[in-house]
């Protein structure tokens, strides 16, 4: 049976969203988080996973509300700790695909320690970090990815801190797969997420988004549409970025698969530990 593209899309939503009673969602009109959610369910569909074999775990913040809407095994945990909860689940259910959705404050400030250690262990989780450069739900305080000099409700004189480069951090900490795209490039984002889900080992996808309600307003960046246009204009490939003269590189968002390497995955290594320990007991 040939299903038209549009019909197939609606089937994806039917299949993977909890459509009864759960909508409308909590996010502001024009927010990018819904686009990331769409990209995730399309990725799950593209990989051909059943709802039952997927778990979605989140922390606290705007992104933390996503698991309510998707028809997977879902868990909305405490602030910053989603990866630690997910680690326990993955250890006892290694066959499950565990997707961890976090915001930039959630993953990198309060949860920064768990982020680098999950990467270091290379445990088979997919971490999706929706980076909107701000704490949105609490009203626009500066986050670990707020650009230097930008304004926030707690940086009324401009931010004097440096932003974390999420992808480089993940790479240095030991992640097996690292990719970055934006909510404007939704198809590409979905493709990267599909690759990340299939990767054995810790995979990270940075989904660059925006918050027009708080960050956009205080920094006079215009509406959601204007902020989206900026993602379109600034999101470029690594090759295009490398060709740019130095002065023009600033403010660009490098899109693409930045790291894809084969490192032994943690739960598989632990299975070897079990085999070894049981052999010792038998002997």
């Amino acid at each position: 049976m040939v299903v038209k593209k549009q019909e197939r899309e609606s089937l994806v939503h039917e299949r993977y969203l909890r459509h009864q009673k759960k909508f409308p969602h909590v996010w502001c009109a024009g927010c990018g988080i819904g686009i990331v959610m769409g990209a995730i369910v399309r990725a799950v569909d593209a990989v051909g996973l059943s709802n039952d074999e997927v778990a979605m775990i989140s922390g606290i913040g705007c992104s933390g509300r996503m698991p309510v809407y998707v028809d997977f095994n879902t868990m909305h945990t405490t602030h910053g700790r989603a990866l630690a909860f997910a680690t326990g689940l993955k250890m006892v259910r290694p066959e499950m695909k565990v997707i961890v959705v976090m915001g930039d404050g959630d993953a990198l400030a309060i949860g920064g320690n768990h982020f680098i250690h999950a990467a270091r262990r290379n445990i088979g989780l997919t971490a999706i970090i929706i980076n909107n450069s701000i704490y949105g739900m609490t009203g626009g305080q500066y986050s670990p990815t707020t650009p230097t000099h930008a304004y926030a409700s707690t940086a009324p004189y401009g931010n004097i801190e440096q932003p974390f480069p999420i992808c480089q951090l993940a790479e240095a900490a030991g992640a097996a797969f690292v990719a970055r795209s934006t909510v404007y490039h939704a198809r590409e984002l979905s493709r990267f997420i599909a690759q990340a889900i299939q990767k054995e080992g810790f995979s990270v996808v940075e989904a660059v988004s925006y918050c027009h309600t708080t960050y956009g307003r205080i920094n006079r960046l215009g509406s959601a549409v204007e902020m989206m246009r900026r993602l379109k204009d600034n999101g470029i490939s690594q090759q295009a970025y490398d060709k740019l003269p130095e002065g023009e590189q600033s403010g660009k968002i490098v899109r693409g698969v930045l790291v894809d390497r084969d490192i032994p995955e943690y739960t598989q290594l632990y299975d070897q530990i079990i085999a070894q320990a049981q052999q010792t007991v038998a002997a």
Binding site: A55, T74, R81, G88, V92, H114, Q278, V281
Partner: protein, 373 residues
């Protein structure tokens, strides 16, 4: 029965394995590290899994995640780590996830006295996380009892879908003692309540007659939502009073209606007593000795030893106190259990024998309090 010389922390680890614990996550901390060391070696032997997390916050989170995946799960720590775990202990209480948290107490606050015992976390074990919630706290006073209460802690956690705290201390954790381990077939093992209803009917937080809703693990085909927000019967966030109030009532009811099963204590010579010593944990060892000596000296002294300290066995304490004049409460803190005893015994005199400097309370000190009359 196999009798052997065993360290307290080791008895806890072996009790966990006997109870069916198959996941343990922890962060090194004296005097609880020995539990992690034993389980790092023992768990893979029985097909279980051990992980050393990056901190105690992560350890607590990981055992909740593992329990949601279907494993009986435990962590072990001491004061500083127990403080870090509090938020996620509240999450386990809110989301009704069975798990066991061992706190081998050392003297605090802060870094305190890392290798000296304390009972300073008695109130923290009850009220450490924010908000109102029920909790079960057990406190053993010998190596043998550590084994048995660890098994019991798992059974209660699974049966009532609640975090259970095993409050040990550095003294009994590091002590070696002869223990008689029950044969495996004699150990009662409780599994969490499950259900066979079709997935579309399943409600993870249903108001059942037992007040404990069946719990199905992630990955079993029953997809549902778990959250630390107040939630409805299906686990979805709610702000409706007609859904919040029944939840609060139910989670307290599931503990309060089962006190007969949950409360563990032991009395000795209280029938004719004029004075009763109430103690728990390592202090109970000194108390027992003091009571024996006092009896030999002709004092009519009784002994009530608590193994369950939360919910506080107020019925039993009140009953024992009814016929007497004085209650003596020795504690390695500045009077935490004493507050509860005072609440229950009315105008009867409560004499505190307190020490929070990392030193054990000697039988002599309790005997003096008995003699002072």
């Amino acid at each position: 029965m196999a009798s052997r010389l065993m360290q307290g922390d080791e008895a806890c680890a072996e009790g966990a394995i006997a109870a069916g614990c198959r996941f343990f996550a922890a962060y090194p901390i004296t005097p609880a590290t020995d539990i992690a060391e034993v389980l790092a070696r023992r768990l893979p032997q029985v097909g279980g899994k051990f992980i050393q997390m990056e901190d105690e916050i992560a350890s607590m989170a990981a055992i909740i995640g593992a329990s949601v995946g279907g494993a009986k799960a435990m962590t072990a720590t001491s004061g500083p780590g127990f403080s870090l775990m509090q938020e996620n202990i509240g999450y386990a209480a809110m989301a009704e996830i069975p798990c066991v948290v061992v706190n081998v107490q050392r003297a605090g606050p802060s870094t305190g006295l890392p290798t000296n015992p304390s009972q300073g976390d008695m109130m923290q074990a009850r009220w450490g996380t924010h908000g109102d919630h029920p909790i079960i706290v057990l406190s053993p006073s010998s190596v043998g009892e550590i084994f048995n209460l660890t098994v019991r802690a798992f059974n209660l956690a699974e049966k009532y879908r609640t975090p259970v705290i095993l409050l040990m201390d550095a003294m009994i954790g590091h002590m070696r003692e002869k223990v008689e381990l029950p044969p495996p077939e004699k150990i009662e093992i409780v599994k969490r309540v499950s259900t066979s209803v079709p997935p579309e009917w399943y409600k993870a937080y249903e108001n059942t007659p037992s007040d404990v809703p069946p719990m199905i693990s992630f990955g079993e085909g029953y997809r549902y939502h778990i959250t630390g927000l107040f939630h409805d019967e299906r686990g979805f966030p709610t702000q409706r009073l007609d859904e919040i109030d029944p939840w609060i009532a139910r989670v307290f009811r599931k503990i309060e209606h089962n006190l007969r099963d949950i409360l563990i204590y032991e009395t000795d010579q209280v029938e004719d007593a004029e004075v009763v010593v109430i103690a728990y944990g390592a202090t109970a060892r000194s108390a027992r000795h003091a009571v024996k000596q006092a009896r030999e000296l002709g004092y009519r002294v009784g002994f009530l030893r608590l193994s369950t300290i939360w919910p506080f066995p107020e019925g039993k304490v009140g009953e024992v106190a009814e016929r007497i004049h004085r209650v003596i409460v020795p504690e390695m803190n500045l009077g935490q259990l004493a507050l509860e005893v005072e609440r229950v015994v009315g105008r009867r005199k409560v004499i505190r024998v307190c020490k929070a400097n990392g030193e054990m309370i000697a039988p002599r000190e309790i005997l003096d309090a008995i003699g002072r009359g």
